[in-house]
Symmetry: C2
Subunit: 300 residues, 2 copies
Amino acid sequence: MTLLVVGSTAFDTIETPHGNAERCLGGSSTYFSLAARLFTPVRLVSVVGKDFPDEHKTLLAERGVDLAGLEVKPGDTFYWHGRYSADMNNRETIEVQLNTLGDFAPKVPSAFRDSPFVFLANGAPATQASVVEQMDQPRFVVADTMDLWIENERDGLLALLKNIDGVIVNDSEVKQLTGESNLIAAGRAALELGPKLVIVKKGEHGCFVFSNYFHYALPAYPTERVVDPTGAGDSFAGGFMGFLANCDQISLANMQRAVAYGTVTASLTVEGFGVDRLAHADRAAVERRYHELMQFVSGV
Amino acid sequence: MTLLVVGSTAFDTIETPHGNAERCLGGSSTYFSLAARLFTPVRLVSVVGKDFPDEHKTLLAERGVDLAGLEVKPGDTFYWHGRYSADMNNRETIEVQLNTLGDFAPKVPSAFRDSPFVFLANGAPATQASVVEQMDQPRFVVADTMDLWIENERDGLLALLKNIDGVIVNDSEVKQLTGESNLIAAGRAALELGPKLVIVKKGEHGCFVFSNYFHYALPAYPTERVVDPTGAGDSFAGGFMGFLANCDQISLANMQRAVAYGTVTASLTVEGFGVDRLAHADRAAVERRYHELMQFVSGV
């Protein structure tokens, strides 16, 4: 089934211990789409400036991403410049130019409103809520968020959480959101806020999945060569939502498999700069890693 | 089969956000023994001072720990005073008095030398090596170590690693030991140093197990109430070695199960101050948690 994503499109300049990349294609909607398209058709709602080149649109369109919701506005595309620490567990933002993303008010094209699966990439809770309002009874809506919104837009975020099916956060965010310092307690407390599903990402330590019916821990895919962590979270979300959208039903077992597909999809992303590795991945590469990850979890 | 542990015995003063404990029974050999005795008979080699009370000896002896190797020397018992951070992921040492541990030269009683399983708790590599030399062809020897020895006694540690079966380290230690910043690469590199088995502890994130035959990731038991992390690592080692010593054979599958038993044994320890919870645990409590952990790993 089709899957809608609403999020940013960007030019990224990235510095890691393995090298640099200048003004490469980035943004949450981009990573999400290139991950999710490995499993299901994707509809993208985002905004770029007049400087956004056709080659990037072609790259996405050729991979099954419907760009009817990609608004092109006067001005430049959102720009981000970041630098990773030696162990790549931290990054600093060198420069941000919001440009056309600054007043992004997503408009879901009428042909997209019947999308049963919806992913709200990181953004202001009010903006995310405006997307939900534009949809015709979606089956499964999941949102990402970040420390900025937990801190500054708490009421809006709590209202959104009551109205969606799942949330994907990282370990520090779920602690900040719930006020619990223990990660297990925090995950359970987040379920009380409304969503049926809480996925807590822990980077190289994998993720926890909390629902009222099962708790699940999954390690990260055991990659030895992380060259650029940018987009790992959105690729995880894309693999998760893409796999689930392609399933016959949203069962607990399928949600669990989807988390593993999200994990391996993210592992492809971090092995290249920007979207390079992800854009050139195919379903066979994903399946190979899925089986390796299952082996890593099951051991002997 | 019997299991020998060589390590410290201590009085610990512990401060955590949940309260304080003054001069309680501690030390690596104590936590290890109280964990391992849940599975198999334990022989302890350690040193204390004249101030070590009979009640502590009784506590250990009543739980199947053979104290024939507990040397009592003139002077006081090793003393440690530590304070944990608010999230308990860091601790500072307030005071250390080495006392009788300062010149500890472990002497393995002749009746202990046939122990097939041996755990060398954290200590100087030369001291650990001296224990191996005193043993009659042990079947399975595992060592713990720490940053101090990796930094200052590297040659001695590398010599020891060539001569033992397994090593248990934490994530920062395995990176320091191998010079690899990626944890998977570090674990594999550690195997090249000699041991057939490398267990990397990641605290609340569980552990990785590396061997030439399988890699395995296991999350921590999902406890919501950590009151004192002291001794978690030695309890993990005790559960691991204790379970394995009680198996018919040292197969890969048994090593994998042993890692899970180590994990749940450590989860009991951290739910009480000092050895309180661990000393009062029984095998049934361990088995309940083992099944909960397997559920957490397998999900639906």
